[in-house]
Symmetry: C2
Subunit: 328 residues, 2 copies
């Protein structure tokens, strides 16, 4: 009887042990799983953290760079927008006269920006001449403009003056394009004012120049009778227009030039708009070539007018002979 009780107890215990052992096994498995999840979670959090820090760092950099560009050390800048661009016969810098009105047959057209009303030009036709204020956009050092805080980097204080055969002057004592602010000033003849466009004569301005402003030429304040300049400048005045004696265009070349005038392609539309007859166009060619517009660095003698490239030779006795012409 007593033995039976004990055996029963033993069996019950064994059962208990078995179930407890199983419970412990299960708990261990759950623990291992939980640890795995924890590790995974830690890895993910770490990568989120790196991402957040990277993004926030970049953000700080942007902000600080913004502050710099708006602090008081930044130079005073006037962001000027062109009122339009000039369509000029002088397609390239080389061949463009060094002074205005030397080529009366030269034609250029300014079309005002879309948002500037035509009324702005009303009355301008009552003036014979206008001032044209423009940007020397062909300057290779123009990007200086875009880093104004280094505006004077590489600015040459003195420039060579052609007529001083190699002599140098302070850049602000010349009309050189390579000046602290690359702004040009030229007088031009008013040929026609029509809607939002104005046709100019004798402008010594390169095609595509951004025009900042035009002003009527007011003789009583702009024409200073008592004004004087150094003798070498006056010499330039008298010499340049008669630099060459004659321009010879053989008949075949004449036909060639007139064919170029009639051609479409680069500069065609504006060429036909500004020169009604081929003779007017040939007249322009004669006037330009007579000026001896060869630059010091120029290798081959050629000039491009309204997209037509004209090559020429300089004969003895300072005579020009047209060698060829082609569009483009």
């Amino acid at each position: 009887m007593q033995a039976n009780v004990l055996v029963g107890g033993l069996i019950a215990c064994s059962v208990a042990i078995l179930s407890l052992w199983q419970q412990r096994r299960r708990a261990d498995t759950k623990l291992v799983e939980a640890k795995r999840q924890l590790d995974a979670e830690r890895r993910n959090r770490a990568s989120e953290r790196t991402g957040r820090i990277r993004a926030e760092k970049k953000l700080r950099e942007r902000e600080s760079s913004k502050e710099e560009s708006s602090d008081s050390n930044v130079p005073e800048i006037y962001p000027l927008q062109p009122i339009g661009h000039l369509q000029s016969c002088f397609t390239k810098r080389s061949g463009t006269p060094r002074q205005p009105l030397l080529v009366p047959a030269a034609r250029a057209r300014l079309l005002l920006r879309q948002d500037i009303p035509a009324g702005c030009l009303e009355g301008l036709e009552q003036y014979s001449h206008v001032w044209v204020i423009f940007v020397f956009h062909c300057n290779t050092d123009l990007q200086r403009l875009w880093s104004p805080d280094h505006a004077s980097d590489g600015l040459k204080a003195k420039v060579q003056v052609p007529r001083l055969n190699g002599g140098r002057m302070g850049v602000l004592a010349t009309r050189s394009p390579h000046r602290p602010s690359p702004i040009g000033l030229s007088v031009a003849e008013v040929i026609e004012v029509k809607g939002r466009s104005i046709t100019l004569g004798g402008a010594d301005i390169v095609d595509g120049s951004p025009i900042l402003d035009i002003k009527p030429y007011v003789p009583f304040c702009d024409s200073v009778s008592q004004a004087s300049a150094p003798s070498w400048v006056s010499d330039e005045a008298s010499d340049d227009p008669i630099a060459l004696k004659d321009v010879q265009i053989r008949d075949d070349m004449l036909a060639r030039l007139e064919a170029c005038w009639a051609a479409s392609g680069p500069g065609g539309a504006i060429r036909h708009a500004l020169y009604k007859h081929p003779e007017d166009w040939v007249g322009l060619v004669r006037q330009v070539l007579r000026l001896d517009i060869r630059s010091l660095h120029q290798r081959k003698y050629s000039v491009t007018l309204h997209g037509v490239t004209i090559s020429y030779d300089i004969l003895p006795e300072r005579t020009v002979l047209v060698r060829g012409a082609y569009v483009g």
Copy 2:
């Protein structure tokens, strides 16, 4: 004997059960702890994630706004930096002559920016006159410059022309300051070039004007003899300089003006630098008042020269009587 074995078994079992139960308890505790850590880790990761996403979003916004400001729809802008600022006798806009060289005694000094070398001015003293290209910085609508994409907002196509008693002209057919690009052009006499400073005579430019460029006046291309303007402009030329017959300064006022010249305070330094003797200074006052520089909107008759405010009356027979003068 058999009973003892069974009892021994029972005891062993109880011990096993106890240890197993304890092991299970420990496992449970670890599991609970692991779950706690896992939850904490999940919360942290979530917040890291929110932080990363917020930062990256802002970053994208910055980037995109940067792209916008460099896309092709943005207007063509030339950020021009003044070469210096003009110290002029005309402290305020009102009282400033409407044309240059009408007040020969007027003095102004331009000091070049620190980073522009003095050599830039070398040779300028050989010219009698220079062009001054400046910003109309007193324009109340100047902030248009700073929102170039709305440059033509509020731009008046026509402006009233004084001599046309109320008549209006296209703004680009006038020299009005309120133009699409608020750039001024004036000729001035070269008085002295010294180091990085140039002293000008007869400039009709307001004190503090930002100077964009100066160029030598080259008579053979800037002085256009055949240039013509509407008759009302020529009238202005002949009338304005003799607008008033005489300027009367009683002795007490003469002493007062000379005391103002000697005084320090606003404009003092430049006043003493540009006018060696009190007579030169009084000469300036006479020339300015003779011009009848009253603007249409002007209430009281007064003008401020180099920081000295001079009040005056217009007597019958077009004579000016100086009423008072004070510094500031």
